[in-house]
């Protein structure tokens, strides 16, 4: 799934060849997951790792920052002689929190609405679908900057704003998945045994809907992280602290790009690999469980 597709809520079919579903999840998946785990661990443990202080200015007397990559500063330093390696890791904390909170919000609200719509159908479905459609018709980034500029630029606001953007794509997927399961034997069987609607949703449908959603969650997290970068680029990311997007922006001026490309490129590299890993892992999960028939 691609970023543009996530913006419109259209799932682009993956390259998997027709008639040839790979049944092995593949080494790529494990590599991707290892990277994700590594980044998450580094982010969580950052304060206890032997890292340089991300806010300290490591000025070498008599010289002018920025300094290029070296043993002391593997990623180099920024214009203020701050260690980019440790800034990228500390930046991961905020970026990942935003990605995680956003997609969790989208999953809970969007997933819930989608399952309800798919299970009850009729007017419930129609109402929810219309809400989704409205959300999808808003150009996503415009909605995001509108909300953040009208409310504030705190971590919470930004995460939830990006979460709102995730509602519609997640909701559509959950609805489609529910629709495809709602008429299966195990559901009809449960219903004939007198199970309540709530019980059927939680016991029978949810476990089946969760797998396609998990694939989407990884992709969605990537989209949210990228979207935060986009906001940062427009100067609308969080006010306090820094994210990958903000770090990239710090080095994106013409002169800094020319004399010290590492200021932007170090965080771009880490952001890119992370997004790539999330995308790839998400794709693999989807292919592995062969959920493509329920994508839209």
């Amino acid at each position: 799934m691609s970023e543009p597709s996530a913006e419109t809520g259209v799932t682009v079919p993956m390259a998997a060849e027709p008639g040839r579903v790979q049944r092995r999840i593949g080494i790529g998946f494990w590599l991707s997951m290892s990277w994700i785990v590594l980044v998450v661990l580094a982010a969580v443990l950052a304060p206890w790792l032997p890292l340089k202080d991300p806010d300290a200015n490591y000025i070498v007397t008599g010289t002018r920052p920025p300094y290029g990559p070296s043993w002391t500063h593997p990623f180099g330093t920024d214009q203020d002689a701050r260690d980019l390696f440790s800034r990228v890791i500390f930046g991961a904390r905020t970026s990942l929190i935003i990605g995680f909170v956003a997609i969790s919000f989208g999953m809970i609200i969007g997933g819930g609405l989608g399952i309800i719509a798919g299970y009850y159908r009729k007017w419930v479905d129609r109402t929810i679908s219309v809400v989704m459609l409205i959300l999808l018709s808003f150009p996503a980034l415009i909605l995001a900057i509108l909300i953040t500029s009208l409310i504030d630029r705190g971590l919470f606001t930004i995460s939830v704003t990006l979460g709102i953007l995730a509602i519609a794509p997640v909701g559509r997927l959950a609805r489609a998945a529910t629709l495809s399961f709602a008429e299966r034997e195990f559901v009809t069987a449960a219903r004939s045994l007198g199970a309540s609607n709530g019980r059927i949703i939680v016991r029978e449908l949810l476990p089946n809907v969760v797998i396609p959603m998990a694939a989407l969650a990884l992709l969605g997290m990537a989209v949210a992280i990228v979207a935060e970068g986009g906001l940062a680029f427009l100067g609308l990311s969080i006010e306090k602290g820094f994210t990958w997007g903000k770090l990239i922006l710090y080095g994106a001026g013409a002169r800094d790009l020319e004399r010290a490309p590492w200021i932007s490129f170090a965080p771009i590299l880490v952001l890119f690999i992370t997004v790539l890993a999330l995308n790839y892992a998400g794709d693999r999960i989807r292919d592995y469980f062969d959920v493509k028939e329920i994508s839209l």
Binding site: P4, V12, E17, I142, I145, L150, G230
Partner: protein, 318 residues
């Protein structure tokens, strides 16, 4: 016909909902009076300021209830009047700004879509012709990488390599330049939009081509001795274009969003950079106008794609 009517009714409803939400949100969360008058709005002790406040309230109907203001705005907008920009000094009509900026964004997006098409079709043909061979694998990886690369990162990379290091393209856009210079200035931003889009199109088209190539009529043509390349271009391409067309259309909406960032990076004064600035300044009439333009385009393109799709493919005709 009935279907078209339904789609149009739905579209109108959508636009109403989007405009009402934007209008309501901005007016409730923002402070229009302050945005119009600036500090004068807070200067309630000074009679001259109070006169200005009253005048602005009357002019912008700020003393009326919100629904009434919305209906007034809607009525004006439908007749093509987007109001005036919030400004204590200029108050130029929003349409002035739109007239100036829309063509630039339009040119940028057309150029980008053109580039994306021009890149993706040959790319998909090559990949499909060599399906599951190294060329195809490399192309799959490349498209995957391109899709994962955020547009601001791609923009910076292109700006660094092609603009700064190689110096092939100018770093700025100048509205007063002749058409072809401006086109030259638009290449980098257009490429930033086009590359990931091309990757998406390529993947779709390749998948469809591979499917088509397994169909009987292709096998028939091949068995009649039509050369492989000719089969690919003449016979397989056209029936494989359905999903390409759909996504091409729908993607236009997504590209409008992408143009916000790309216009900012490459300093193209189009609708994207205008709305960013307008949102920052809470220049509500401009924000509303651009949101409406973007949403309308998006909705109309989707309808057009649907119609085209049902015309092209009898199976989905309703």
């Amino acid at each position: 016909m009935n279907y078209l009517f339904q789609r149009l009714a739905m579209a109108v409803m959508l636009l109403l909902a989007v405009s009402a939400l934007t209008f309501g949100g901005m007016n409730l969360l923002g402070d229009p009076l302050f945005n119009i008058l600036g500090p004068v709005a807070a200067d309630t002790s000074n009679p001259t300021s109070v006169a200005k406040i009253d005048a602005a309230k009357e002019k912008y109907y700020l003393d009326r209830p919100l629904p009434e203001r919305y209906v007034r705005w809607l009525g004006d907008m439908v007749t093509g009047d987007f109001g005036v920009q919030f400004s204590s000094t200029g108050e130029p009509p929003v349409t002035n700004l739109l007239k100036e900026r829309t063509p630039r964004t339009f040119q940028l997006l057309v150029l980008a879509q053109f580039m994306a098409t021009a890149i993706s079709i040959p790319w998909a043909l090559i990949a499909a012709a060599r399906v599951r061979r190294p060329t195809d694998r490399i192309s799959t990886v490349t498209s995957f990488l391109l899709i994962a690369l955020p547009n601001f990162a791609l923009g910076i990379i292109l700006k660094y390599l092609l603009g700064i290091k190689l110096g092939w393209f100018p770093l700025t856009y100048t509205a007063s330049d002749p058409f072809f210079s401006r086109l030259h200035q638009l290449i980098l931003p257009a490429l930033t939009i086009a590359l990931p889009a091309a990757a998406v199109y390529q993947r779709l088209l390749r998948t469809d081509l591979v499917t088509t190539l397994q169909e009987d009529f292709i096998l028939m043509a091949r068995s009649k001795g039509v050369p492989r390349r000719r089969v690919l271009v003449r016979h397989a391409l056209r029936p494989s274009l359905f999903s390409f067309i759909t996504v091409f259309g729908i993607n236009t909406g997504a590209l409008i969003g992408g143009s916000l960032i790309v216009e900012t990076i490459f300093r193209v004064p189009g609708l994207g950079s205008a709305i960013v600035e307008a949102i920052l300044r809470e220049d509500f009439p401009v924000v509303l106008a651009i949101v409406m333009i973007a949403t309308t385009t998006f909705v109309l393109v989707n309808i057009a794609v649907d119609l085209l799709y049902s015309v092209l493919d009898p199976r989905v005709r309703r």
